[in-house]
Point group: C2
Chain length 296, copies 2
C-alpha cells in the first residue's frame, strides 16, 4: 500500500478547509456549500485522488469485500462461477477476494482464517473433497459472518446453499444410457464423503432400479483421490470378466480420464461403450439448477 498517495488531508490543506468538509464533499453530503463541494471534487480529480478503502473499511466496520473459497480456480466450473460472482458483486460495489483450497482440508482452514482476517463481509464457499470435519466453517457462523455454500455443500451445516440437483442429473444421465440400449452401466463415483457423490450415486442406483436393471457392486468404483485413480479404475472395469458396456462418471475430470483410457485401448465410443457425464450450463447463482448430460 503505497505511501505518498493523496489523502483528504492533502486536499483540505490545499483548499484551506477542514478534512471533514472534504469528506462531506466527497461522499456527496448535502450539508455543504455547493461551491466548496465543486472545488473539492475538481481538485480531487485533478490530483487523481482515490479514496482509501482500507481506512474507510476500518472506520465503517465494513470492507465491501466478498470472500470466495473454491477447491480449484482453474476448473471451468469454478472459474465460470467466479466470473459470475465477480460480475454481480462489482455491480453492487463489492470486490472479491479469492482463495483456493486445492482440495486440501488444511488449506481450506487457512483460507477461512485468511478471509476472517481480511474481515470480508461474507463468504462463498465450495468445500474441498478432503473436508469432513466442518468446525472451521462453524467458526464463521459463531462470528456471524454471512456464509453461502455452493456446489460442494455439506448436509450438516445450517446455511444457505446453492446446488445443482445432483440426484436428478445423475438419474437423467443414466436413463439416457439405458434408453440408448446399454444395460451394464458402471459408475465412476466421487468420494463417499461428498454429499454430491452420494446424491449422484443414488440417482444412478434409482435409475437402474426403475428400469429393472441389476446393480453390480463391482461396477461402482469410488475414486477418492480423483483424477489420478480414474484412469486406472476405468481399466479395471474394462478387465472385469463381465465388463460394463457404459460408464457414468461423477464429474468432468473423470470423464476425460475415462475417455482417454477408452480411446487408448481402442474402444469405439459410443458404439462399443457408452460414456456420460453431468455438466451445468446455467449461472451458478440460481438455486437448484437442472444439469444436462453429454454423450461422447
Amino acid at each position: 500500500m503505497n505511501k505518498g498517495q493523496i489523502t483528504i488531508r492533502d486536499l483540505a490543506l490545499k483548499l484551506n478547509v477542514s478534512i471533514s468538509t472534504v469528506s462531506r464533499a466527497l461522499r456527496g453530503s448535502n450539508e455543504i456549500n455547493p461551491e466548496t463541494k465543486i472545488a473539492v471534487l475538481e481538485l480531487a480529480k485533478k490530483l487523481h485522488y482515490e479514496p482509501n478503502l482500507i481506512a474507510q473499511s476500518l472506520r465503517n466496520s465494513k470492507t465491501n469485500i466478498i470472500g470466495i473459497i473454491v477447491p480449484e480456480i482453474a476448473n471451468s466450473f469454478f472459474s465460470a462461477a467466479i466470473s459470475g460472482i465477480q460480475e454481480v458483486t462489482s455491480f453492487e460495489g463489492y470486490n472479491v477476494m479469492i482463495c483456493q483450497s486445492n482440495e486440501k482440508y488444511l488449506t481450506e482452514i487457512e483460507n477461512v482464517k485468511t478471509l476472517i482476517s481480511c474481515r470480508v463481509d461474507g463468504i462463498l464457499l465450495s468445500i474441498s473433497h478432503e473436508t469432513e470435519n466442518v468446525d472451521h466453517i462453524r467458526v464463521l457462523q459463531s462470528k456471524n459472518i454471512p456464509l453461502v455454500l455452493f456446489d460442494r455443500v455439506h448436509e450438516s451445516l445450517d446455511v444457505s446453499k446453492v446446488v445443482v440437483d445432483d440426484y436428478q442429473g445423475a438419474y437423467k444421465a443414466v436413463c439416457h444410457l439405458i434408453q440408448s440400449g446399454y444395460t451394464r452401466i458402471a459408475h465412476l463415483a466421487g468420494p463417499k464423503t461428498l454429499l454430491i457423490s452420494r446424491d449422484r450415486l443414488q440417482g444412478y442406483l434409482d435409475a437402474l432400479k426403475n428400469h429393472n436393471l441389476p446393480v453390480e457392486d463391482n461396477y461402482i468404483v469410488h475414486c477418492n483421490t480423483l483424477k489420478e485413480v480414474a484412469a486406472a479404475e476405468t481399466l479395471n472395469l474394462l478387465n472385469l470378466p463381465n465388463p460394463p458396456d457404459a460408464i457414468f462418471t461423477f464429474d468432468d475430470s473423470m470423464a476425460i480420464k475415462a475417455l482417454f483410457t477408452l480411446k487408448k485401448n481402442g474402444y469405439k465410443i459410443p458404439r462399443e461403450i457408452g460414456l456420460v457425464r453431468i455438466y451445468v450450463t446455467d449461472s451458478i447463482l440460481v438455486t437448484s439448477l437442472s444439469p444436462t448430460c453429454t454423450e461422447f
Copy 2:
C-alpha cells in the same frame, strides 16, 4: 466486516495486560515474558482471535494484496494464470483481488481505480482488446504502484512484461502447416490494435515468405469483435473463388468457431482443410514462453 469480533484490546482486558503486550506476543516479539506470551497465545486460540488485516494494513501502509486485472476470468488461459498467481502469492503471504474488464476499456479504467482504492501492493494486468489509450495505466506508475503486464501487453509502456513469444509461435504453427503440405494458408487475425496480433501476423507472413509462398491479402482477416465474427469470416474464406486449404487462427476461441464452422459445412479436418492454433503450456510466470501449436 463483522462488528463484535475479538480484538487485541479484548485479549488485553481479559489478561490484565496492556494492548501493546498483547500485540508483541502475537507477532512473536522477543522483548516479552515467555509466560505472558503463552498466556496471550492460548487465549487468542481459545477465543478464535484472528488479527484484523484491515487495521494492520492501515497502520503499516501495506495491504499484502496483489491486484489482478484480466479481460475475462472464465477463459482457460486467464483462469490458469490466476490460479498460478494465487498459488505463489498465498505462499508468500499475499492475497489476490481479482477484477475483469470484460474486454472493455472503460471497465478496465474502473478496475484500476478500484485496485488503487484498495491500496493493493502491486498490480498484474492483462489489457483488454478495446484498450488503446493507456493513460490510466500511467497513473499507476505516477503513484509508484508496482505493475507487471502479462500476456496482453502494450509496447509503449515502460514496465515489466511477461509474454509468450507470439512471433515464434505463429511462425512455427504456420511452418507446421506448410510442412504438412498446405500451400494456401489463411489467417484469422486478432485486432490490429493488439501487439500480440501484429506479432502473430508477422510470424505468419514471415513463415510464408521463407517458404516462398505468396501472401494473399484476402486470406488475412482481422476479427475485431472477436469470436462473434470469426465464424462468419471462416465462411467467407471458404466461399472465396480460390479458397484456402488451411487456416491459422489468432487464438483458441477463433479456432473453436472456425472448427465448428468447418464441421458444420462438412469439411474433413485435416484432410480437406488444415487448422492450427497457438497455446501456452507452461506457467505464465516465466518470462518469454515458447508456445506450441495443436493440429485438429
